[in-house]
């Protein structure tokens, strides 16, 4: 359910960013999904397919990049966390600042326009 709401937020933002661009269309949307983003990637992808199957969308490709949960350990610096355990894999400290992999990010999108002779 909340995957669909994220997709709607994503598409609203992309629309905002394309509104001033004149004629053209979005052919690809590139997102980053962290291990700790709290979404089901399959549900996100199917919600995306459903929401972009009709105009003004022309079935853009969804590119999903998975990233690990990353944290800054007070003693060891940047570390990657696995298995949802919030302990530094190097020193066992729990004093960690999460610094990535806990979110869904819009990285980029591809905008296609017709060249002069076609338009």
């Amino acid at each position: 359910m909340h995957e669909r709401s994220l997709v709607l937020n994503l598409l609203r933002r992309v629309t905002e960013l394309t509104v001033e661009r004149g004629p053209g269309r979005v052919t690809e949307i590139d997102v980053e999904v962290g291990d700790f983003a709290g979404i089901e990637v399959d549900l996100f992808a199917s919600a995306f397919a459903q929401e972009t199957s009709e105009a003004p969308w022309c079935r853009p490709t969804l590119q999903i990049r998975r990233v690990k949960l990353r944290a800054e350990c007070v003693d060891c610096g940047p570390v990657e966390l696995t298995g949802m355990r919030f302990v530094c894999p190097t020193c066992g400290s729990t004093e960690l600042e999460i610094c990535g992999g806990d979110d869904v990010r819009l990285l980029s999108f591809t905008w296609a326009t017709a060249s002069e002779e076609l338009s």
Partner: protein
């Protein structure tokens, strides 16, 4: 070779990549941040109450109002999929606005901001937001709260923090509810707290029973302290003139 169909337009020749690199929820979070600062400035502590369905959020709010009576001014925004049942329970106790999500499984900051508007003019010390019962989706949505309290009732099992890590990681307080039922269920309060601390070492905990009133005073004290801390920090941030001054 170029078959042009009505449903799938042929690729357009010029493509370029527009780099954005921002969280999908960036705009929602701005709304949340703005709501939080406005509430801080007005002396309001915003509490986001989350739990699985039926863990006792509304009952806890009823018990809180009974405990404080007129000591503090309370208000509540109640998230509900479709009905106004919780709003009807709470309306006699405090200013109440209903946030109907229309089937969505969580609240989002813009809806909360609109709900707050519906309560204006509002004078209050604590604004509660009762989220939709769900331990998954609401976890990702900042509603502009100062604190997030997650309720876990003893009938749900003490293994739940590890199963819903995001919610417990992002909460400041674990409220173990329905304490009166403890003799009837295999639930270890210490195991639940230990499990939550593996996810969020800093999480506080309180144990409550909305039926007998046990632990309600301690929960209210926690809220009172959280409010003082937020207001104190805000005051300190406003007057950075004497950084060496001692904090009373």
């Amino acid at each position: 070779m170029t078959a042009i169909s009505a449903t799938t337009p042929a690729p357009l020749p010029r493509e370029h990549v527009v780099v954005v690199n921002e969280p999908v929820l960036a705009q929602q979070r701005e709304v949340a941040q703005d709501l939080r600062s406005r509430c801080t400035a007005r002396g309001i502590l915003v509490v986001n109450l989350v739990s699985s369905p039926g863990a006792g959020k509304t009952s806890l709010l009823e018990a809180t109002a009974r405990h404080w009576k007129n000591r503090y001014r309370l208000a509540v925004l109640v998230g509900d999929l479709a009905t106004d049942r919780d709003a009807q329970r709470l309306a006699p106790l405090m200013p109440t606005a209903q946030l109907t999500t229309g089937g969505a499984c969580h609240l989002e900051a813009p809806l909360v901001a609109r709900g707050l508007q519906a309560l204006e003019p509002l004078e209050c010390d604590f604004l509660f937001v009762e989220n939709v019962g769900n331990l998954v989706c609401p976890a990702s949505h900042d509603l502009g709260e100062h604190v997030r309290a997650v309720l876990l009732s003893v009938t749900e099992g003490d293994d739940k923090p590890g199963k819903y890590p995001k919610m417990f990681r992002l909460s400041q307080l674990l409220v173990i509810s329905k304490l009166d039922l403890l003799p009837h269920v295999p639930f270890s309060v210490t195991a639940a707290i230990a499990d939550a601390r593996l996810i969020q070492p800093q999480i506080d905990h309180r144990e409550v029973c909305a039926v007998t009133g046990e632990g309600i005073a301690a929960w209210c004290d926690w809220l009172e302290f959280a409010r003082q801390r937020v207001l104190h920090d805000a005051a300190a941030a406003r007057s950075p003139a004497s950084p060496g001054a001692s904090v009373s």
